[in-house]
Every structure is written in structure tokens, then in C-alpha cells.
Symmetry: C2
Subunit: 106 residues, 2 copies
Amino acid sequence: MSGYKRHIFVCTNQRSPDDPRGSCSKLGSEALHARFKQEAKRLDLKDVVRANKAGCLDHCAEGPSVVIYPEGVWYGAVTVGDVDEIFRSHVLGGQPVERLRLAHMR
Amino acid sequence: MSGYKRHIFVCTNQRSPDDPRGSCSKLGSEALHARFKQEAKRLDLKDVVRANKAGCLDHCAEGPSVVIYPEGVWYGAVTVGDVDEIFRSHVLGGQPVERLRLAHMR
């Protein structure tokens, strides 16, 4: 292989429950990462797409945050229910899901 | 800002000490991540370069592994002593450090 066609990074940063900044983990990003990983496996894309956990991506207030390379497209407030659309449109089709993009990271 | 000029992901995956696969964390990748982060701060590149921890990047035997986007250049066996060169040549200059690249990920 020569690198992934799409490399998905899901922020799974954790903070203490009383931290006012919150965290992506608290917003359900562990399940989100698992869902991305499961979808790559289901579609038999092991050497084509990889879904990784990442440390803090610095968009805690808009989490769970996800960035997909090589495009460097940033998404915020992503839910497990959005994974199918992100996979179909962006990961496989190359078309970012506009409604989920972080406006200031375009 | 509109995304990072370079986004550095350092595998900091941990496994139990007796796992035959080893892990990047065991090979010193936490210190490596800290050094990348420190260098970005020292050069005042907060909005330009980000160094993140990542889960398993699937090159455990060649770790610590690092991937830098948007190029998608993969490095293996990176040491703290390599960070200056990677920063100067690749992160700032756009020229990957050939001697550290994972040959099968080109």
C-alpha cells in the first residue's frame, strides 16, 4: 500500500467531568470512532481507509470533532448517525458533507 | 484560520508490556509528541502547525510512527533527535526527510 485514500481522525480527548471546556469524549466520540472503524471494516477498506483516535483537535466547544485527510476537511458536532453519509459522500465519493463542516476551518 | 499548514500525528498507542507486537508508546512516542508540540510553540506556529497524539497507526514494528498531512508522508523509528530536522525540512520547508520515511508507504 502507499498510504490511505482517506485518513479519518476522531478526537477522543477526555477531561474531568467538571471541566467547563467539556470534551469530545464526553460528547460520545468513542462510539463515533468505533462506528467509523466498523464501517471501514464492513466495506472491506482496511488498506484504503483508516479511522484513528486523536488527541485534542482544539475544537472542544464544537465537538465531537473529526478531520479527514488528505483534504483536511473539518467536521463538528458529528454523531454516529452521520457516519453513513460521511462515508458515502466524502470518504468514498470525495464530496465533503457541507452541513457538518466547521465554518471557520474552511 | 483555515486548517493547518501541517498536521502531525504521532502514534502513542500503548499495549501491555508482554505484548509481542510492542507499541509506539513503549518506544518513546509520548516524549516525541511532546517535542513536536514544544517546537511548534517555540516557533510560534500555534495556528499553522499542530502536533497530535494518535491511536495505533498500524506500523508497530517500525515505530515510533508519525504521519504528516496534507502530504500523507509516513515516518518510522523517529526519535526526539529527529524532530528538528523534520520541522526544518518538512514542516516548514515542504521537503520530507527521506531517510526516515517508511518505504512501503510511499
